[in-house]
């Protein structure tokens, strides 16, 4: 009799669980002085100073907004930004920026930021900003640290289930020794010299040169360089950021 009751109870619990939709995972909390539109609903700061986000929310903000993720990383969005948040298989944050700009602080680990057909993966402790200008070009600025991976990639609003399998190990993926990872390494190496020389052009090859521009300055900045070490480069949404030399101005440090 006891067994029958137990089976019935387990069965009922299972049935109840199967019937209920799983609650959405919490992505983080966003705050702004002006209303934020989340999932089409306007969230007013007069109602609450911050709003929780799920890992599949889309939002837009009219004033600067700060998003602190559940993983304790921080994104600060420019006014008039529009983005969708999510996570990759490892649980790390994935941000799909449709419009505007974002300052990132990868406090606890890798971040995955996709915008205008480009993926940027800041390493742990990296800080910088990515802005999509009116012409659809990406303006990139690195303050600390470096990118584990960056380049042209088909951006999806949501990271596909096998997203990490296409990335090198250094970017949290499964691929070892591929171009992206080695380029990052080469870029870092070139960056030490390149930053001192004041130009990523010191590194050989188109891809390596453009990558070094960013990574090199990142290394220099991490080493305590002044604001002059910050790099700004632009890349178009059509062509590759790191693989299209015309997208980088020769005068860009």
């Amino acid at each position: 009799m006891r067994w029958i009751c137990l089976i019935f109870a387990v069965g009922s619990a299972f049935a109840a669980a199967a019937g209920a939709a799983a609650p959405a995972a919490v992505f983080g909390t966003i705050a702004s002085k002006a209303p934020i539109t989340i999932g089409g609903a306007e969230m007013s700061p007069t109602a609450a100073p911050s709003w929780p986000l799920t890992a599949e929310d889309e939002f837009s903000n009219s004033a600067p907004a700060m998003l602190r993720t559940a993983t304790h990383d921080v994104f600060t969005f420019d006014s008039e930004s529009r983005a969708r948040v999510g996570t990759v298989e490892s649980g790390r944050p994935y941000l799909y920026l449709r419009q505007g700009g974002v300052h990132f602080n990868a406090k606890e680990g890798l971040l995955y930021i996709c915008m205008a057909g480009h993926l940027f993966v800041p390493e742990k402790a990296a800080e910088g900003s990515l802005t999509l200008d009116a012409a659809g070009k990406i303006v990139l600025r690195v303050e600390h640290g470096q990118f584990a991976e960056q380049g042209a990639r088909s951006c999806m609003p949501t990271a596909p289930p096998n997203f990490l399998s296409t990335l090198p190990a250094v970017a949290g993926g499964a691929l070892a020794g591929v171009a992206g990872a080695s380029a990052a390494g080469a870029g870092a190496a070139a960056g030490a010299a390149g930053a001192a020389a004041g130009a990523g052009a010191a590194a050989g090859g188109i891809g390596a040169a453009t990558l070094a521009t960013v990574v090199g300055t990142g290394v220099a900045a991490a080493a305590g360089a002044s604001s002059a070490a910050s790099a700004t480069s632009t890349c178009s949404s059509q062509a590759g950021c790191n693989f299209n030399p015309s997208s980088i101005s020769p005068s860009t440090p």
Binding site: P23, A24, P49, W51, M66
Partner: protein, 394 residues
Amino acid sequence: MSTLPTRSSHLLPLQGVVLGVILVSNWVQTGWLSGTNPQVLANYGYRELWLDHVEGPTGALELFRQALVLDSAFSYRWSDLGEALAGSGQMESAEYCFRRSQELAPRSPQIAVRAMNFYLRRAEAGPALQTAATVLALTSDYDEIVFSSLSRFRADQEYILDVGIGSNRRAADRWLLYLIGPGRTSGADSRPFETWKWIESKGYATREEAIAWSDWLAANGRERDAHLVWQRYVSSDAGYGIGNLIDNAGFEREPEGRGFDWRIAAIAGVKAGIDQGVAHSGRASLRIRFDGSENVDFHHVVQSVWLEPGHYRLSAWIRTEGLTTDQGVAVVVGGVSTAALSGTQDWTKVGAELTVHGAARIGEIMLVRQRSWKFDNKIGGTAWIDDVELRRVD
């Protein structure tokens, strides 16, 4: 010769000084000058919180703590500290703060919204729904915020209805309208159906709500259900759907302009509307006035009807006054038309029969005046229509 100061001119500066001392003393005590005003501290706290500066002696946490010490009876101070504690991962302490803030201000929707956000953040459905219920009970201003939050966090539908809405009839109505709002749900989503079923079981259904629900059902391919909802909750004609398939058949009330009531569209050269002074039966009829300026192809008074396969008889009463041209006014359904009346005629019954084959479907009954091919084709005059009937006769 020296003059002594008058009593009043001597005392005024002294009084001013004393008053100044009192004010300064008060300001210092309350913190206006010392920078320890709780609201000022809280503002600084938020600035630090938004700069991601939570910990440390000048961090948000400490500033909110100081503000709370200065004004621990103010609910917002507790919520502020709760916000910062949650930001630093001290969830148990944060929960205490949010609970305390609710105790201090149980009728503040803002305090309840903040608590709801905290519980959503912690993925605690029960308390989140309880605080949501508080917000919904206190104000309708935050309906959209609450419903959007519960929807995004995929709160269990049964809990939303039983805990979040409960006996709040207004919230039940708004939740259904939220779910069936543009672009929110499709016919494949079970939540609108569950909500309507729940609303019906509680006896909360209103006519306005039923009209919206019927519209949504029809738009999502559930025409039969839409018709049944209309029949049960919207139609005011006693025999609607049982004997006569036409709602508002005698035009006794202003048409809803949607669903299974008459829809009257505007067209140049014609004015159509209810006439409370002329009727075949009851107190009103539909009047169509042609101003003689157009050769109008009129089919702008329409009603959707639910047609099961079978044989039907259509009838209506029409009266005309000075209706010109060779094309008069008729009633049409499923391609079958009654006789068209023109000229001046007293109330005349017109009729037609039709057979519906195949599957049950939505059809349209309309009042029609066809375009004339004569030289003198611009129609003037007036027609009245009343007591329209469509009855199944097999």
